[in-house]
């Protein structure tokens, strides 16, 4: 999502600048974070379920929880995060120039971004992909039945290209109905200007809530593009890269082991060696990253495991009600998988 800055020149110049900046600004992020006492985290300026301020002004969302996890691991306090809202165009510069320590802003992991911008993707906290929403009255169960359909799209995003590719591959035709903003797209869909609305799946659920009758629309199972979203750090600081990466892994491992923010206190003295290693009761796996032995315990205690994080922000515990799908654990039919802590 938000991949509408396909301007090679801009990327090239940013990359050039990044290369010159990265050499200068590779001081240990961990030390500077400890010194400042908070993690500077780049988030979006508002994306349902991923990062948005709640009524009290606290940032909430799946991307926000990644930052809270890092703060819990490093500083022992998940609330020690300073959120820097960034637009899609600012985000990489902010990271390159050192304005933020982690970019957790629904950023798709692509080869260009990973290799030419002086950045590293530390993992995937949400496997997204482009999908379709249709009115239930249409009686369509699969995207393969959409030949000749009028499709509402938001202009200027790769969504448009993916859509054209998918229909060409499947030898189908469609009639694009293009809008400028997502709100207009929803209104167009609601007014019957098109039969189908396409966007990234995480967005479709948010858009569905905006309909007058959300129950009348359904999201089709097909996903036609790969949009792995994850936190990003500066290249050249492997220690910080490891911290962000393993914070996420610790949460995924915790879900697999059945550790939650509620039961972690009781499980701290568990005899299961995997659990003991993760919570720091057996060995010190934080040391090599410059973290205290209880780093993973703090993350799980304060932010929860991956499943809790997912359900709270985008899943059944939220208004979005997105199914786990690809984001289920590998043991439950999804592809969320974390290497073991040992």
């Amino acid at each position: 999502m938000m991949h509408n800055n396909k301007k090679p020149l801009l990327i090239a110049s940013a990359a050039l600048l990044a290369a010159s900046v990265a050499s200068g600004a590779s001081a240990a992020t961990l030390d500077s974070v400890k010194e400042k006492g908070f993690v500077q985290c780049g988030v979006s300026t508002g994306l349902p379920g991923f990062s948005a301020p709640d009524d009290a002004g606290n940032w909430q969302g799946l991307d926000v929880d990644v930052c809270r996890g890092v703060a819990a691991a490093v500083l022992g306090d998940a609330s020690k995060v300073r959120y820097i809202p960034l637009t899609a165009k600012e985000r990489f510069t902010a990271l390159q120039s050192g304005e933020i320590d982690v970019l957790s802003r629904n950023t798709t992991w692509t080869a260009t971004r990973d290799t030419s911008l002086g950045l590293n993707f530390a993992g995937v906290n949400y496997y997204d992909g482009q999908g379709f929403m249709v009115s239930k009255d249409l009686g369509v169960a699969s995207a393969k039945e959409l030949d000749g359909a009028a499709i509402c799209i938001q202009s200027g995003t790769t969504t448009e290209l993916n859509l054209a590719d998918y229909f060409r591959l499947n030898d189908m035709t469609f009639e694009p109905v293009v809008f400028d903003t997502s709100d207009q797209t929803v209104k167009g869909f609601e007014a019957g200007r098109c039969d189908v609305l396409t966007s990234d799946q995480s967005q479709l659920y948010a858009l569905r809530i905006k309909l007058a009758d959300p129950a009348a629309a359904m999201v089709l199972p097909e996903v036609i593009s790969k949009e792995p979203l994850g936190p990003v750090v500066r290249q050249g600081d492997d220690q910080w890269f490891n911290i962000v990466k393993w914070t996420l892994f610790a949460q995924i491992n915790a879900e697999e082991m059945g550790l939650t923010s509620d039961n972690i206190e009781a499980k701290k003295s568990d005899t299961n060696p995997n659990v003991a290693r993760l919570v720091g009761a057996d060995g010190n796996y934080g040391e090599a990253m410059g973290l205290p032995a209880d780093w993973a315990y703090q993350v799980i205690k304060q932010v929860g495991n991956y499943g809790e994080m997912f359900e709270r922000n985008v899943g059944t515990g939220s208004a979005l009600n997105i199914e786990r799908g690809l984001n289920a654990l590998w043991s439950n039919g999804g592809i969320q998988y974390a290497p073991p802590v040992r």
């Binding site: 300026t45 990062s51 809202p85 304005e99 939220s318």
Partner: protein, 374 residues
């Protein structure tokens, strides 16, 4: 020949003026001449009334009659009408941004002082206006900064990343207006100067800043600038935006002021010179007072444009009033209330801009010295 008695057919006393026929005065006459002057006119009137009916009735129905006013969550919004609960639940956030709740009194004090100063200056015949004006321009910005930002006199620091909402909009607009007017006057005077270097610097400055869109300026300030300065120098994002807005607006202001200066006949300056006044006194006592009066509509126009332009900072991730409402709309709990949000923002902007406009018209009437076309 002596004057004879008035003939009996001539009345001796003046006849009182009769009131005009009832069909040529009053509401009915007004309606007849303005709305129902002929068949085509009548048709248009009826059609327009129908259009207004189509527009106004559902809007009122939605915004007032069917609307939900009380409550705290989405569940309190059941009716077909507007859900103002979204606004009331997040009103503090819309006004103060992410300013710590227990410290918002500091913002309130700044608002109050500012309102008092503006009122003092706006109401005619208040004493010591000159002193108050100087205080507003020279002292108030520092008080406001110390109160809002803190960091001295035992006040807790509230970084600019926590500023937002209406407060940020006002900070951007007031700083832009207060800084751009003097800069604009100086630039305009420089552009009309006989000194070649001063003149060319001013021309280049004005033409450069007028030639680039504000979005580009903000974008450069927020995205490119940090890449060019060393990592330790972390100039605040808000400060960068403020500098950008001020430089940009001062160029526009300069051209408005230059227009006013050109309208003052040369004879005025020459008369001043003949009296032995130097350049600055000539400008300050003779040219500017006349020119500024002529420029009121243009200056206020620029202010209003600036006030609305402040919402462009949302493209660099600063949460002004518009941006914070948009961010609120991304909260899954409040998805789908965008019309309420935007209507609220529009109302606030309209109130501010319309007040500025009315005040400028009042000033024009107050200062008009017979040059104005009636």
């Amino acid at each position: 020949m002596s004057i004879e008695k008035t003939p009996s057919r001539v009345t001796e006393k003046m006849i009182d003026a009769r009131s005009a026929p009832s069909d040529s005065i009053g509401t009915i006459a007004w309606l007849r001449t303005n709305l129902f002057a002929g068949p085509i006119n009548t048709l248009f009137t009826l059609f327009a009334c129908y259009l207004i009916y189509l527009l106004i009735v559902p809007s009122l129905q939605w915004a007032l009659i069917d609307a939900n006013w009380s409550g705290t969550t989405r569940a309190d919004c059941t009716g077909e009408g507007a859900c103002w609960v979204f606004i009331s639940a997040r009103l503090d956030q819309f006004i103060y941004g992410f300013y710590p709740e227990e410290l918002t009194w500091r913002v309130d004090i700044v608002f109050a002082i500012f309102a008092a100063l503006v009122a003092w200056l706006a109401i005619p015949n208040m004493p010591v206006k000159g002193l108050v004006a100087i205080a507003t321009l020279a002292v108030f910005p520092f008080i406001a900064f110390f109160l809002l930002h803190g960091g001295s006199f035992g006040l807790e620091v509230v970084g600019t990343h926590e500023w937002g909402g209406l407060m940020l909009t006002l900070v951007l607009a007031v700083v832009g207006i207060v800084a751009a007017l003097p800069m604009g006057i100086l630039l305009a005077m420089g552009r009309r100067s006989d000194m070649p270097i001063v003149k060319s610097i001013c021309v280049v400055f004005i033409e450069f800043w007028r030639g680039v869109p504000l979005i580009t300026v903000l974008f450069m300030a927020s995205v490119m600038l940090p890449l060019f300065v060393p990592g330790e120098v972390n100039l605040d994002k808000l400060v960068r935006a403020l500098i950008g807005i001020t430089l940009f607006q001062s160029a526009y202001m300069a051209e408005v002021v230059r227009g006013g200066l050109q309208a003052i006949p040369n004879g005025q300056t020459e008369a001043g010179v003949a009296l032995g006044l130097g350049y600055w006194r000539n400008m300050g006592l003779i040219v500017l007072p006349q020119a500024l009066k002529l420029m009121i509509p243009g200056i206020v126009n620029t202010f209003i444009a600036l006030f609305k332009d402040t919402s462009l900072v949302l493209i660099i991730g600063l949460f002004d009033l518009l941006a914070i409402v948009q961010a609120g709309l991304a909260d899954p709990k409040w998805l789908g209330y965008s019309i309420e949000g935007y209507a609220f923002v529009a109302l606030i902007f309209w109130v501010f801009c319309f007040s500025m406009s009315r005040y400028s018209q009042y000033l024009e009437r107050l200062l008009h010295t017979g040059h104005k076309k009636r």
